[in-house]
């Protein structure tokens, strides 16, 4: 067997491990092992690559490659290992971005490398797609990182003529691609690189807050597609398979997330949702309705007398870092023979499945986590719905008010329960800036304050009773 055939077989093995890993994610039991299998497959592919021939000779610069890898490892391992779990969304964003950046660099370098041999038009097209998508993903992920890390405002950033400017930059990139296809000009490629960077930035600026889960999934898909494009350029099946798998997963997640918000993808991406918060909402609805507020102790008594409790967590729980106290409260209730479930809305938080990771971190067994449909059937027979840090995902306006911006979004029907306990920092509306009728529901008891403090007081009160 020739050297090249052996290496290709090893690549085939790696591609298979990637599919096995994704299959393992079908259940929490096998997921971790699957991830390790993929990591092993990746290692095999990397080691095999050291023995590959490029242009008929062994790899040059082996020590440079090893040095670069060493630098990458000493940055990545401590970051990935020790960054707090709350910083997960931005960490995922940044690791996604660097992948897009690498794909873009690979495409550019390959273009410079093969340019003298007058490549076919389709090869240039592959390069250009790799550069464009990879760079947009890199720049977009960087902005998403800045927003999530709160180094810049998490709200949508808008300015006059935004759509128009974005459109012009997009068109300019497109016409540049056509020009490069015809001329195969390297200087123009650098201009495309710069333009793609700008495009990535201005594309992400108007997307903020609760829309971020959609954005993160989409950027994930972009990097996958950029890798697949570089696979075409380099003639590597492994890169095509891996890139396409990621592209498929990203696109699927993107669709799931926008569906969970009851909005179309283009509406999520281009409407700068939630940027006009204070203007509408609060002022018009001041029609003298009253809310019923209570103390953490009142809430504890209510919980103590119930037999089924459904907890509805939202992004506020992550912000307040209340997940551990929340689990303590749930354990306490369970020890009193009360059934406890968690109702998870798909877009709660800042990335797909955010609430699940948050609660897993607090050792909540995954059997207690319910998806949207299950949640609503559980809630119909629940005594108490405990809303912690959620708002728009339990807003009945999504069902009964066709004029509401979130109309059509599938929600968790907290109001189906006998009683609702709503932990809230203030009367301020949620991200979408929409008044929540659930707050005025006679079933609802509002407990004001920081979620973690309130939960701690509730734990003490339940213990004392």
């Amino acid at each position: 067997m020739s050297r090249e055939t052996l290496i290709d077989l090893l690549y085939l093995f790696s591609a298979t491990t990637f599919i096995v890993a994704l299959k393992g994610l079908g259940s929490p039991k096998h997921a971790r092992r699957g991830n390790m299998v993929a990591a092993f497959g990746m290692l095999v592919a990397i080691v095999a690559t050291f023995f590959k021939y490029v242009d008929g000779h062994a790899l040059h610069h082996v020590w440079l490659i090893v040095l670069a890898m060493f630098i990458g490892v000493i940055i990545a391992v401590p970051t990935a290992r020790f960054v707090k779990m709350t910083a997960m969304p931005q960490l995922v964003a940044i690791f996604n971005g660097v992948g897009g950046g690498a794909a873009s660099l690979v495409s550019i370098t390959e273009f410079i490398h093969i340019k003298s041999s007058h490549p076919a038009t389709y090869v240039i097209l592959e390069v250009l797609l790799g550069v464009l998508i990879g760079t947009v993903s890199f720049a977009g992920s960087a902005i998403a990182f800045l927003k999530l890390q709160e180094l810049m405002t998490g709200r949508p950033v808008t300015y006059p003529g935004q759509q128009l400017i974005n459109g012009i930059v997009g068109l300019a990139a497109l016409s540049l691609i056509v020009t490069i296809l015809v001329t195969a000009s390297t200087p123009l490629l650098w201009i495309l690189l710069a333009l793609a960077f700008v495009l990535g930035v201005i594309f992400v600026l108007p997307i903020g807050g609760a829309d971020v889960p959609v954005l993160i999934s989409l950027l994930n898909a972009f990097t996958g597609l950029a890798v697949a494009a570089s696979g075409f350029t380099l003639g590597s099946n492994l890169l095509i398979v891996a890139g396409t798998l990621v592209g498929a997963s990203g696109i699927l997640l993107t669709r799931l997330m926008s569906k969970a918000m009851g909005r179309s993808l283009s509406n999520v991406l281009f409407s700068a949702f939630g940027s006009v918060v204070t203007a509408s909402g609060a002022t018009t609805r001041d029609d003298g309705r009253s809310v019923r507020s209570g103390t953490p102790e009142d809430a504890a008594i209510l919980l103590g007398f119930s037999s089924r409790v459904v907890i509805i967590p939202g992004y506020g729980l992550a912000v307040a870092q209340g997940q551990h106290v929340l689990r303590e409260l749930a354990d306490l209730l369970e020890s009193k023979g009360i059934e406890v479930f968690y109702a998870i809305h798909p877009v709660a938080g800042r990335m797909p499945g955010h609430m699940n990771v948050l609660l897993a971190e607090a050792n909540v067994p995954y059997e207690q986590l319910l998806e949207l449909d299950e949640s609503n059937s559980e809630l119909a027979t629940a005594d108490v719905a405990l809303v912690v840090g959620a708002n728009d995902t339990v807003n009945p306006a999504a069902v009964d008010d066709p004029s509401s911006p979130i109309y059509g979004m599938p929600i968790i029907h907290a109001d189906l329960a006998e009683n609702v306990i709503f932990l809230k920092r203030s009367m301020r509306p949620g991200f979408a800036g929409i008044e929540n009728d659930l707050l005025y529901n006679p079933k609802t008891t509002l407990v004001f304050g920081d979620a973690k403090d309130t939960l701690t007081k509730m734990v003490a009160a339940v213990k004392a009773s």
């Binding site: 994610l25 991830n35 992948g99």
Partner: protein, 107 residues
């Protein structure tokens, strides 16, 4: 030459279908690990980056290739480590007992 293109396109299309089938079965509990795990998988661009740096013939190509290898290594290593850390946390009922033995168990 065009036969190669068709071969790659075949791989792409078949993978897209296989991928969609498998990923549609991932429960929403595991959507974050799915994202982060697929993140790690696209780190395979490291293989491409190695080939680019290994075949570099000018200083510019060396610099770009060197950067690409660093970025791709960050992607691979960070992706797998973060995913492992996440998946480690997902436990079924009962498994949490050994996680906090200090409180309850007093020998």
């Amino acid at each position: 030459m065009h036969n190669v293109l068709i071969q790659y396109a075949t791989v792409l299309i078949l993978t897209a279908f296989v991928g969609t089938e498998i990923i549609a079965k991932v429960p929403s509990i595991l959507h974050t690990p799915l994202m982060s795990g697929s993140n790690a998988i696209h780190g395979v661009i490291l293989v491409g980056s190695m080939l680019i740096l290994g075949g570099a013939t000018t200083n510019l190509q060396e610099v770009l290739g060197f950067l690409a290898v660093i970025l791709a290594t960050l992607n691979v290593v960070g992706g797998f480590v973060v995913t492992d850390r996440m998946l480690e946390m997902f436990k079924p009922r009962g498994a949490k007992v050994k996680e906090t033995p200090t409180d309850e168990v007093t020998p």
